[in-house]
Amino acid sequence: MMDLSSISPILLLASIMAASTPILLAAIGELVVERAGVLNLGVEGMMITGAICGFAIAVNTGSPALGFLVAALGGAGLSLLFALLTQVALANQVASGLALTLFGLGLSALLGQGYVGIKPPPTPRLDIPVLGDIPFLGPVLFSHDLMVYLALALVTAVWAGLKYSRAGLVLRAVGENHDAAHALGYKVVRVRVLAIAFGGACAGLGGAYLSLVRVPQWTEGMTAGAGWIALALVVFASWKAGRVLLGAWLFGGVSVLQLNLQAAGVALPVEYLSMSPYLITILVLVIMSADRSRAPASLARIFHASQ
């Protein structure tokens, strides 16, 4: 019963956008954190905290926009705990990050107890006049919800900011050699705390996109590993914003595409279809990283001004 015509390209692309956005948001945030020389393994915990904060606020106020805002604040708030541990108390970043994930999962389960089975207010899709009416391109490019465009704008801003702005240069300097950056008078800890908070806010937004748009509901543990995928994406994307975008689209795209191919009864073994998102994303990004890209030199190293 192979019937590819039953797959609507317009609906498929919309689903791909919805599937890519959470990991794209979380990954672009983590990219900034890692470029500042900090490894925060708490992405999963910050995402799920954002998912419940955003959901609860959106349900209580009826405003998804406010939900997203509070999700970002929630994710950033949780990440500041990590900042306190690693930048002030100089704790091990790996252990602190893992603990943050566990804490976030537990905290979100606690916060979410009253929110099971509730339907959130719908996040409206933008209805751009004229542009949205263009056949095919209109529905594909111009009829998503605001968060999709915000995520893309964020990727562009991070790319341009890191590459062209003075703040980006300082951030990269801190990530490459924190002792030299310190000697030059840059506030290493302050830069890193800000980067960590930015990463937390992005992860929170990604989580809220799951609970408010993609699923949309609150379920305990609903991120189900999305944070870890975002983390892996940053590494495979060689810490480059453009490749993170490519990787998120590939992963989200192939994930949704393979489900559609299964439903259409395509004569490919399901087990290969099922592993295809991981295989294709890793393969493409690994091939691209043959250009000797490397991790920020100070990644996960503890900085103390006396050293």
Binding site: M1, S6, I7, S8, L11, L12, S15, A19, P22, L39, N92, V94, A95, L98, A99, T101, L102, G106, A109, G112, Q113, V116, G117, I118, K119, P122, L210, R214, V215, P216, Q217, T219, E220, G221, M222, T223, A224, G225, A226, S255, V256, L259, N260, Q262, A263, A264, G265, P269, V270, E271, S274, L299, A300, R301
Partner: protein, 362 residues
């Protein structure tokens, strides 16, 4: 950063996680009952119902019994660690509540001959390891009937988890009865390769709906497909493993509810009395291990009557959901007119029945 640092960090964090849910000390006069869950309690489905069973044990026995549990334990090597940890912490009886824990449970059971183990939905036993499962396929037959009657597009979407006999049995039972109710009906099946991943379950439901399905059956644990159906509008769903009553009266029009409470209480009592013996239990609607949740008014009255009649016939043993004549997918004969399937074939089911247009993943 060395590998050692990472591993130390991971070990510390996991130790913290395990310690958080397993109270450290058990008093010797109390019977300690442990539960290993594949998802979070808040999944609203499979794990939620197992936890309801645990709470029933606590309530029934009061101070006599202490229960412990660990959530979201991955199937595979990590399960061995979690089960061992529970046995080391003094559990007298451990329920491992997912098919994928089978080999891990068997391995730990061999190491702890004095601890009793109960594995859900598996088939490997030992002197101190029982298996228990419910005849979910009886409920699937009723869902299939309602699905066949209610679909207007004649496309029923099915979100399957892993290609194991239990899931294949459910697909067959639902399909046979959907076809009986509506000879035009087709099934579109997606294998999610997960028990619990709300985002993926929602994506699968959305993909099926976009390809024309107006009824979604799920064999995954979360309520995400219900939310996706509600978002799409006009799509019928069924609660899986738990009532999923939050989505009543529509999209959720009925449900299969797993009721583990009486079983968990009986087995705990057996351990207290010292009468526990290894066995294999497989109960259905009749004994009450499988319940059918309220059929809502979204279902036409006539269809509801038929579904309830089917339920009564299955409960009384008058009708078996796998009754011949039935052929296998390849056209070969399986059951002759009036013949019913034996439990052995059902427990190892690795084939589709005739009419299903799909392949089972290897």
């Amino acid at each position: 950063m060395t590998l050692k640092t990472i591993l130390t960090g991971a070990t510390v964090a996991l130790g913290l996680a395990a310690g958080a849910v397993i109270p450290a000390q058990a008093q010797d006069d109390k019977t300690k009952v442990g539960f290993i869950y594949v998802g979070p309690i808040g999944d609203g489905g499979w794990t939620y119902e197992h936890n309801e069973g645990r709470l029933a044990v606590e309530e029934h026995f009061g101070d006599q019994v202490e229960t412990v549990y660990q959530e979201s334990v991955p199937e595979g090597a990590d399960a061995t660690r979690a089960i061992t940890q529970m046995a080391l912490n003094g559990a007298d009886l451990i329920f491992t509540t997912s098919f994928g824990y089978m080999d891990a449970t068997l391995a730990v059971a061999e190491k702890f001959p004095d601890v009793k183990f109960e594995h859900a939905t598996g088939y490997k036993t030992a002197p101190n390891l029982s298996t228990y499962s419910a005849r979910f396929y009886e409920g699937r037959a009723i869902q299939g009937h309602i699905a066949g009657k209610m679909t207007e597009s004649n496309i029923v979407g099915y979100i399957a988890s892993y290609p194991i006999p239990e899931v294949i049995r459910g697909i067959n039972a639902a399909f046979i009865h959907a076809r009986k109710a509506n000879p035009e009906v087709e099934f579109k099946i997606i294998w999610a390769y997960t028990w619990f991943d709300p985002a993926k379950e929602a994506d699968a439901a959305t993909a099926l709906i976009e390809q024309g399905a107006d009824v979604i059956l799920q064999h995954t644990d979360s309520t995400a497909p219900q939310a996706a159906a509600e978002k799409a509008g006009g799509v019928v769903t069924f609660g899986q493993a738990s009532d999923m009553a939050e989505y009543k009266p529509f999209p959720r029009v009925s449900s299969i509810i797993d009721d583990w409470k009486p079983y968990y209480i009986a087995r705990t009592q057996a351990v207290i009395d010292g009468t526990w013996e290894s066995h294999q239990v497989w109960d259905g609607i009749g004994p009450g291990m499988v319940a059918i949740g309220e059929i809502t008014d979204a279902v036409p009255a006539e269809v509801k009557q038929e579904a309830l009649a089917l339920k009564d016939a299955i409960a009384s043993g008058e009708y078996h959901p796998f009754t011949g004549p039935l052929k296998k997918q390849d056209g070969s004969d399986w059951l002759a007119e009036g013949e019913t399937a034996d439990d052995g074939t059902l427990l190892g089911m690795d084939f589709y029945v005739e009419g299903l247009d799909a392949d089972i993943p290897q």
